[in-house]
Point group: C2
Chain length 333, copies 2
C-alpha cells in the first residue's frame, strides 16, 4: 500500500496527493478532504507517505530525556544518536527535567519543528494519572512515538522495554535460594520501570513465602548517601539484613559504603546487587554484581522499529528485551 | 554597528541588504557584491546581521562531541542543552567518534542544515597538524564556532577553557611541598587539553628541581584496568612512588584498585588525585580528591558568549576558567 493506492482510490493525480502532503494551498478544499479521507481509510499517517516519497521530511528525530547527565540516560542518548546517524537522521536533544508542563512544552516544540518522530527515553515521561500522558498520545497522532523502557498503549506508539520485573525477581530469588532471608530493596524512582522492578522483588519474596516488610523497601532517589544512611539507620535499630538489592548502581555503591563503614564483610555477611551495570559498578572494591539492563539493545531496537514504521513495515508495538546478571564480587552465587 | 550601517555604506535599502542575507535572487549581482564587500569591510558575518533581524535563523545549534556516553562529555552536553534551551535554541547532537573524516563530515552536515552556530565540546576535535583543523576554520566562515575546553585561533572562533595546566601544576606542587618526591602522572589523551595537563605536571617538577622520569608519565586512555596494571608493573619492577596524579577520575580509580590489591594504605603511603570531580570520585573508598574542571561554568560561559556574538556584543575570543581542587580522602593536604 502506497501513494499510488491513495491517488487511485481518491481519483486524483500523485502530484495532487503530494501537494496535500506538503500543505500546498494549490488544492481545493474538497479535493484535499477527499485525499485525507482516503489516507485515513487506508490507515497511513501522511508522514509515512511523505517519507516514502522523500518529501516533507526534516530527517530529524527528537530525543526527549529528563536528564542527559544521568549515566544511564547519557548512554541511551549516545546509542540512539549513533543508530539514527547510521540511518541518516539528525537528533534534536531535549532535556526536560521531571516537570510535567516542560515535558508537554518540549513535545509540542518538537512537533512544531516538524521532526519525523519522537523518542522518549526512560519511564519518567509516564504518569499513573492517564490524563497526564495525553501529550504523548497527542504527539502520536502526528508522528511515530517511540518509548524506551516504558509502555503506553496507543496508536502509533511503539515501546521497547527491558524486562525489569523478571530481572529483579530472578536475582532476588537466587539470593533467597542461596540462603538469604532478610533482603532490603532500595529504589530510585516510582516510575513505571521502578514499579516493575519493585514488583519483581515482591514476587520473589511472595513465591518463596517470605514476609514483605515495609522497612525493607525504601525509596532513596539516585542518592549514594541516602542509601548509605538508610541502611545505617536499620543497623542502628538492630534490624538485621543479609542482602541489599537496588534499582541503580548508585544505591549499591551507597550500600557498599555502609558495609565499609561498619566493617561488614561483603559478600560474606552482606550481598549487594546493583542495576544498569554502569561504570560505577567497576569503580568499587569489591566490584558490584549488577543487572545489565541492555541499554544498547533497547536503543538499537527502538531505532530499527522506527525505521520499520517509516518504511511501512509490519513492526511490533511492544518489544521486550531480557536483562543479564553480571556477576562480580558483591555476591557469592 | 548594524544593518543600517551596511545599508548606508553600500548605498542600498535595508530591504536589499535583507534580500542579500536571505539569498534572494531578486538582487543584481553587482548590488549583491557591493553589499557583501561592505559587510566584509565592516567585519561582520552575514549570519550575525540576519539574526539581529530575526531573519534566516533556525534557532538551532549543533553540538559536536566525540562520545556523549563519556561522563565528562555527557555533563557538558547536558549543561549546553539546558543553557541553549533557556535562550530559545534547539540542539542537534552529533557524536562523531575520533575519526577525522567523520568530524569533518558532521561539521559539513550541520552547516548544510543551516544551524546558527556549532559548539565543539572537548579538545579531541583539534589536531597538532594545522591542516586537519581546516574544517573548523572553514565552518567559522559561515557561522560562529564555539570551542569548549580547547583553543584554536581564528576569526569567528570563540574558546572557553579550563586552566588545566595551572590545575595540575598546583596540585603536583602541593604534593611536592608536602613531601612527595616520586609522583606518577597517568593521562587519558594527548589532546590539547591533555598536553596542557601534562605541561602542568612537568612544570611543577622542574620548578621544584625534581627530575622528569619517563616511566612516571604514562598514557592509559580512559581505562581503569590499564592504570591499575601500569602501576602494578612499576611496583613489580621495584620502582617506588608516593603519589599518582591523573588526568581523569577513571585512572585515579585504577590507582586505588592497585593500592587496594597491594595493601598500600591510601593516603598514608600513596596519595591519589583524580580529575573532573565526576560521580566516580564519590564511588570509591576512600573517596577521591579530584580537580573540578568546572564543566558547568565552561558550558554556561560558552552559551553566553555565543549569545553575545548573536547580539553583536563585544565578546572575548578566549575565556579562561580556574579549576577547583576538591579535597577528599586520597590526599593528606
Amino acid at each position: 500500500m502506497n501513494i499510488y493506492d491513495v491517488s487511485k482510490k481518491a481519483g486524483v493525480s500523485i502530484a495532487t496527493v503530494s501537494r496535500v502532503l506538503n500543505g500546498n494551498t494549490n488544492v481545493s478544499e474538497k479535493t484535499k478532504q477527499r485525499v485525507l479521507d482516503v489516507m485515513d481509510e487506508l490507515g497511513y499517517t501522511p508522514n509515512v507517505f511523505a517519507r516514502g516519497l522523500g518529501l516533507n521530511t526534516m530527517k530529524t528525530i527528537g530525543i526527549m530525556c529528563t536528564d542527559s547527565s544521568d549515566v544511564y540516560l547519557a548512554n541511551a542518548v549516545y546509542y540512539l544518536e549513533q543508530e539514527l546517524r547510521i540511518q541518516g537522521y539528525d537528533c534534536i536533544l531535549c532535556c526536560t527535567g521531571t516537570n510535567h508542563e516542560n515535558k508537554k512544552k518540549y513535545t509540542e516544540l518538537l512537533l512544531s519543528k516538524r521532526v519525523d518522530g519522537i523518542i522518549f527515553v526512560g519511564s519518567k515521561f509516564l504518569d499513573e494519572e492517564p490524563s497526564c500522558n495525553a501529550y504523548i498520545i497527542d504527539a502520536a497522532k502526528t508522528i511515530p512515538v517511540m518509548l524506551v523502557n516504558c509502555y503506553l498503549k496507543g496508536n502509533n506508539i511503539y515501546c521497547t522495554q527491558c524486562d525489569d520485573e523478571t530481572a529483579v525477581y530472578s536475582v532476588t530469588d537466587s539470593l533467597i535460594k542461596s540462603g538469604h532471608t532478610n533482603i532490603v530493596y532500595l529504589y530510585t524512582s516510582t516510575s513505571q520501570s521502578g514499579q516493575n522492578k519493585l514488583a519483581g522483588y515482591k514476587k520473589a519474596l511472595e513465591l518463596n513465602h517470605l514476609p514483605l516488610k515495609k522497612e525493607f523497601m525504601q525509596l532513596c532517589n539516585k542518592d549514594i548517601l541516602r542509601a548509605k544512611e538508610y541502611l545505617t539507620g536499620l543497623f542502628a535499630d538492630n534490624i538485621s539484613f543479609d542482602a541489599v538489592v537496588t534499582s541503580d548502581d548508585s544505591l549499591a555503591v551507597g550500600a557498599l559504603k555502609f558495609a565499609y563503614e561498619h566493617h561488614i564483610p561483603v559478600p560474606q555477611d552482606l550481598s549487594i546487587v546493583g542495576y544498569n551495570n554502569s561504570i560505577l559498578a567497576r569503580c568499587t572494591e569489591p566490584e558490584l554484581t549488577s543487572i545489565d539492563s541492555k541499554v544498547e539493545a533497547l536503543c538499537t531496537t527502538t531505532v530499527n522499529t522506527l525505521m520499520g514504521v517509516f518504511n511501512g513495515s509490519d513492526v511490533p508495538s511492544r518489544t521486550h528485551i531480557t536483562a543479564d546478571l553480571i556477576k562480580r564480587n558483591t555476591t557469592l552465587f
